[in-house]
């Protein structure tokens, strides 16, 4: 029994040491602390509040705005259904419907009427007599008639304007799309906000020397024709500002622009997911959150006459990199690095978890650090980052997850598939950003890129298989059979193989895939491929083969079968060409996604996406060895193809 107690004693001692090292977490709530905004007026206990809400039409951006608004109100103690009753009404996108709705509301009894969108503001100014009015989701309150200046405004109404950054948008278009001569815009002439934006556009046109093509519409049913008309006028880009009518019919506009390869730029972030190339403008969720303070104050009886109008538009830039790639555009660096506003000054705590030491994982970390630096976050002063490495051991990874879970972090970065799976399971209360995950769906991180687990978002590094197959077919006209070695033991490898098979099948190529489970088997597998008479190696990259690809390259040289790969380093070892996902870039983008999360975006609303940058490289010297001519068509198909001598 004595020896048994010695065992228990050892356990107690070690546990105590662990607890002592964990002392600073004592009495701390093990929950990520929410950032607390400015102090607003909180709800008075026991009081019931009535709010009337009138808006133009349901749309994605407006939903974002409301989500931010309800969140802020909830934080201040106003809860819908409990002490806050909201009566909602919208005009179905018809300007003529607004006045009757507001008249009706004015005859009921509310503590406050909130109107959103410019047409509603204008209508409220004319119709609401008995109530105080707050507004938001309005580009230009002055143009809407809410006052002469921000301080000298109409009685009984105040609110928040969010003027779209027209000049910056024009600058973006001119710098991103070379040789822009004509910029088109579609808008509803009856919307005051659109009129003032278009006025600014006209000014910019004369200053910067481009032609502005305007096509007005009256309602959404005219949008299809209007878009066709404007596209036929030879515009280089289409700029849709916060026009309510166009926002409603945006799908039509985006569809036609995509068909005609015309870049579409907006001021509304939610529209990027619907097919716009870029959006430069306020994040509506943030505007809604900001409005919450104003609404709370006014619900508690502060007179609007004493509150000046306010312009609140944090200039976010959101770019659809995939779209940019398709359109063949290079986004100037200044827009990339300023694409997300800097979070407020605070020292952040990050954790970064590697599963094992691999060049890809390390590249991700350096990319991530570079991005943080570019966003003016300095290690030591602005953030502290703790790096963990499980060194390939699942049990250690479990312990690491436990260790992370016992501390508070602002963000946890994950640099491999098992790491992401482990963290998302073990740390439900933390915000996790992953990178270096080939196939998030196969890893169980979500049903699709948009419908995914709530506390995680990230960058997928799936290789560009279609691009690779295109390149091989251009370099080898009439090629029939390609081959790769893959590792059945790695989920990424298997999923890459499947995707490569798919891409080959689409192009009528046959892919021979030979499995290898250890370093020694890779050479055998490569020789087997040669004996199956493949015409080119198209080698997928995974952890095992990454460490011994030189063995396959050797076989490629001795058998005179050209080698194509997905990692840029292979070019120096004898590959003819590579389509390399940039792991550095994937880390960079993961960091930017992380900063988005820090600025208050909910990870569940951030879709997963592929890393934007792929390096297409071809080597003339290696091509010469295999007697391959590099035809002009390749450069046409891959405008960014780089040649290494």
């Amino acid at each position: 029994m004595k020896s048994f107690s010695r065992g228990i004693l050892a356990l107690i001692i070690v546990s105590t040491i662990l607890l002592l090292s964990d002392l600073q977490n004592r009495n701390k709530k093990n929950v990520i602390q929410r950032s607390v905004g400015q102090v607003g007026s909180e709800a008075v206990a026991g009081k019931k509040y009535l709010l009337g809400l009138c808006y133009f039409a349901p749309e994605a951006s407006h939903d974002q705005l409301l989500a931010g608004l309800w969140k802020r109100l909830g934080e201040l103690g106003f809860e819908r259904g409990r002490n806050l009753t909201v009566t909602e009404s919208h005009s179905n996108g018809e300007i003529g419907n607004i006045s009757p709705i507001l008249l009706n509301m004015d005859n009921l009894s509310f503590d406050l009427i909130l109107v959103t969108s410019t047409p509603c503001v204008t209508a409220a100014l004319n119709t609401v007599r008995k109530h105080q009015v707050a507004f938001t989701y309005c580009s230009d309150p002055i143009a809407a008639g809410a006052g002469k200046s921000f301080k000298d405004h109409s009685k009984g109404i105040t609110g928040i304007g969010s003027f779209p950054p027209v000049e910056k948008t024009i600058q973006f278009i001119l710098e991103t799309i070379p040789k822009t001569k004509k910029i088109g815009t579609i808008y509803n002439n009856a919307e005051a906000n659109s009129r003032s934006v278009v006025n600014l556009m006209r000014k910019a046109a004369t200053q910067k020397g481009f032609e502005l093509i305007e096509v007005p519409v009256v309602n959404t049913s005219e949008i299809f024709q209007a878009t066709q008309a404007i596209l036929s006028k030879g515009i280089d880009a289409l700029y849709i500002s916060g026009d309510n009518t166009c926002t409603q019919g945006f799908d039509v506009i985006a569809g036609l622009c995509t068909k005609n390869s015309i870049p579409l730029v907006t001021n509304d972030k939610e529209l990027v997911a619907k097919g716009a190339l870029a959006a430069i403008g306020p994040g509506w969720n943030g505007v809604g959150y900001h409005t919450g303070d104003l609404v709370a104050k006014m619900l508690n009886g502060v007179s609007p006459d004493n509150i000046p109008l306010e312009n609140f538009a944090n200039e976010n830039i959101e770019i659809n990199m995939e779209k940019a790639r398709i359109l063949g555009l290079t986004i100037p660096k200044e827009f990339l690095s300023s694409s997300i506003p800097l979070p407020e000054a605070k020292k952040y705590k990050f954790a970064f978890v590697h599963f094992a030491d691999s060049p890809m994982s390390e590249d991700c970390e350096s990319g991530l650090r570079k991005a943080l630096e570019d966003h003016k976050l300095r290690e030591g002063t602005d953030f502290a980052m703790k790096v963990y490495n499980a060194q390939g051991d699942i049990a250690t990874l479990n312990s690491i997850a436990g260790s992370i879970g016992s501390q508070t972090w602002d963000l946890v970065f994950s640099a491999s598939t098992p790491t992401a799976q482990m963290l998302v399971k073990k740390l439900p209360g933390y915000k996790i950003v992953f990178t270096n995950v080939g196939d998030p769906q196969a890893a169980g991180l979500g049903k699709s890129f948009t419908d995914h687990l709530p506390n995680i978002c990230g960058i997928s590094t799936m290789s560009d298989f279609d691009g690779m197959i295109d390149m091989i077919r251009l370099l080898h006209p009439g090629i029939r059979r390609i081959g790769t070695v893959f590792t059945p033991g790695e989920i990424n490898s298997v999923s890459y193989k499947t995707h490569l098979e798919e891409a080959s099948r689409k192009s009528g190529l046959e892919l021979i895939a030979i499995p290898a489970n250890s370093v020694t088997e890779v050479l055998d597998a490569a020789n087997e491929l040669v004996s199956r008479r493949i015409e080119a190696f198209c080698q997928i990259s995974d952890n095992l083969i990454g460490s011994c690809s030189s063995a396959i390259l050797k076989v490629s040289l001795s058998s005179k079968i050209p080698f194509y790969g997905f990692v840029s380093g292979l070019l120096g070892q004898g590959a003819v060409a590579v389509c390399a996902r940039d792991y550095f870039q994937s880390g960079y983008e993961a960091a930017e996604m992380g900063i988005e999360v820090l600025t208050g975006k909910d990870p569940s609303n951030i879709p997963y996406r592929y890393v934007s940058k792929t390096n297409y490289l071809v080597s003339r010297k290696n091509a010469g060895i295999f007697k391959i001519d590099i035809p002009e068509s390749v450069f046409k198909a891959f405008p960014k193809l780089k040649i290494e001598k």
């Binding site: 070690v14 977490n25 051991d393 997850a401 298997v494």
Partner: protein
């Protein structure tokens, strides 16, 4: 505190592995390295069955059965074909790699949104104390569900240890122990040692597969590479436990293996918590294990010197 609780929980899950290794290495003196394969085998079986909609308890039991089969294969290869125990283990372990891939159909099966034993415990916790309930332990706030999971693992391991203890005290169990201690003697008594070895290695791997199955459910996925390195850790746990207990009684040895496994995870947790260079992690764990092995003996020695004086 969550770190402590988490480490003890993982330690208890991996204690099943340590028990399995204890049976083959210590009771049978059979250097069985099937473990790396059967650990994953258990995880693979459970994960695939759970994804197919089978009840988690049944899936866990099937993992145990799978481990039994794997161990029996190793035992049979050794006893029937007179192949060196190490080599038989290597054969089965290697074969299991492919078997595991077939069982899962791919190399990694996520269980993130599936019903597992641990989600049951979580549901139970929610039913008893509400969602996201937090309690205070010695001043640290801890999610209640973590405590329930810890309790669940503790009950489970105590139960398994008792079953094991009871089993090795039955006639057949005693014969098995004797096979490891002195096979000539027990053969003279008319016991077929070959049967005993096959049976023993099977049970050993059954426990190891069970450990793999639990770990997969705990961490939320099974991966074909998750067994790599496990044998070393399991063996280290057994030896740490022995060094601490330093006695030959069966019950104490079983307790030692469990304590060793938990202690080992705690040491890793300390190394992590102290925030050392991640590249040094394995070096530090090795040092800790070394100290854990040497210190008990060292303390004994100093005591003896004092007594002599």
């Amino acid at each position: 505190m969550t770190l402590l609780i988490g480490s003890i929980t993982i330690g208890l899950v991996l204690a099943l592995l340590a028990l399995g290794i204890f049976i083959s290495f210590r009771i049978f003196d059979f250097p069985d390295i099937t473990a790396e394969g059967s650990f994953t085998f258990g995880a693979a079986i459970t994960a695939s069955l759970i994804v197919a909609g089978i009840n988690p308890v049944a899936a866990t039991l099937m993992a145990f059965a799978g481990g039994l089969l794997a161990g029996a294969a190793t035992g049979l290869i050794h006893t029937r074909f007179k192949i060196n125990p190490l080599l038989s283990g290597i054969l089965v372990m290697t074969a299991l790699y492919s078997v595991n891939l077939h069982v899962m159909g791919k190399s990694n099966v996520p269980l993130l949104s599936q019903l597992t034993l641990f989600t049951w415990v979580e549901h139970f916790s929610i039913a008893v104390s509400g969602k996201d309930a937090i309690t205070s332990v010695l001043g640290w706030s801890v999610p209640v569900k973590d405590l329930w999971i810890l309790l669940f693992c503790l009950i489970m391991i105590v139960l398994f240890s008792l079953v094991l203890l009871w089993f090795f005290r039955t006639n057949i169990g005693t014969a098995m122990r004797a096979t490891g201690d002195n096979d000539q003697m027990i053969r003279a008594l008319g016991v077929n040692t070959n049967v005993m070895i096959v049976f023993g290695v099977a049970i050993s791997n059954g426990f190891i597969a069970l450990s793999g199955s639990m770990l997969a459910q705990f961490q939320g996925f099974a991966d074909v590479q998750m067994g790599i390195g496990m044998m070393v850790w399991g063996l280290a746990s057994v030896i740490i436990g022995e060094a601490l207990i330093n006695e030959k009684k069966l019950g104490l040895l079983i307790a030692g293996a469990v304590i060793g496994a938990v202690l080992f995870r705690l040491l890793v947790a300390i190394a992590l918590r102290w925030g050392m260079n991640p590249n040094d992690l394995k070096l530090i764990t090795a040092t800790f294990v070394f100290l854990a092995l040497v210190l008990p003996g060292f303390m004994n020695k100093t005591k003896k010197i004092r007594l002599v004086k």
